[in-house]
Symmetry: C2
Subunit: 157 residues, 2 copies
Amino acid sequence: MSISSPTSALRSIGRLSLETGVKVPTIRFYEKIGLLAPPPRTASDRRLYDGAASRRLAFIRHARQLGFDLEAIRSLLDLSDQPDRPCADANVIAARHLADVEAKIAQLQALRVELSRMKADCAGGRVSACKVIEVLHDHGRCLSSHDTVDAAPALPR
Amino acid sequence: MSISSPTSALRSIGRLSLETGVKVPTIRFYEKIGLLAPPPRTASDRRLYDGAASRRLAFIRHARQLGFDLEAIRSLLDLSDQPDRPCADANVIAARHLADVEAKIAQLQALRVELSRMKADCAGGRVSACKVIEVLHDHGRCLSSHDTVDAAPALPR
DNA sequence: GTGCATCCTCTAGCCACTAGAGGATCAAGC
DNA sequence: GCTTGATCCTCTAGTGGCTAGAGGATGCAC
């Protein structure tokens, strides 16, 4: 990056938000929980961000888009700040997340099968004959016992 | 149902919990938010549930296992209480949920591709050469822009 | 009567934000 | 200089679907 790169100019939180696609309250939230360092301020207390802060925030956003949780992102940022360390830890984090995603996909595919069947079976008459309601009432009609499934990792909007 | 059916005997919240697989605090929570009617109590204020309450709770649990959120379950319970109404509403709820599940699967599959690629590309050296970290830093290396994805419907544990 | 399990209510915490109150400051146009 | 509207500030509370824990009462077996 050249010296005159726009990434080295200071920007308000609003501009940073436009630049990175991260909403203003979310940036403040990341600062509050220590993911972003508190930036310098103007005389009237407004935050001023430099290029490094912008790149860090872009990193966070991208990791969130990939579904990493904030704790994982904290670790990844730490690693990213220490280029000489081996990257095994980063790999472990990514591999764990991949495994989570794959497990989640499997769970949702099982749900999809069940839901499709419910929908297909329903003839569209009265509630008393509705397959949707009936299946919900009678667990035994389900294909599997799809037992107790974890919540999905939250993904950003 | 016969008079001597076990489903018509009164049970404590603990027994109901064992019977349905729904945890005690969760049963109280469902009562608090109006999914379950407040049951009669003993002289010492302990809840007593009958077979109907048990069936209602089993319905809720099953619907939660299928990933319906509590608002949808509220509607499904309402419908289930009115057997003479047409079941179109139930179908709409199920179809909407199915569409959500399918969308979620598609999103997660895109994530999986990205994460697999990150992991495969990483040679396991230093952080400075780590593909995992690198991809996170440089959004441009991503296959898609997987823009802004909604949080998954929460599934119970 | 002595434990221990179970029950009661109530509050607070989880995640990753989001919404809104209530107010200060800035930049542009007149 | 004045007004207007956008942007900024801090702070609290709410989202969903529970879960954990405090602090205490009751029930039941030995």
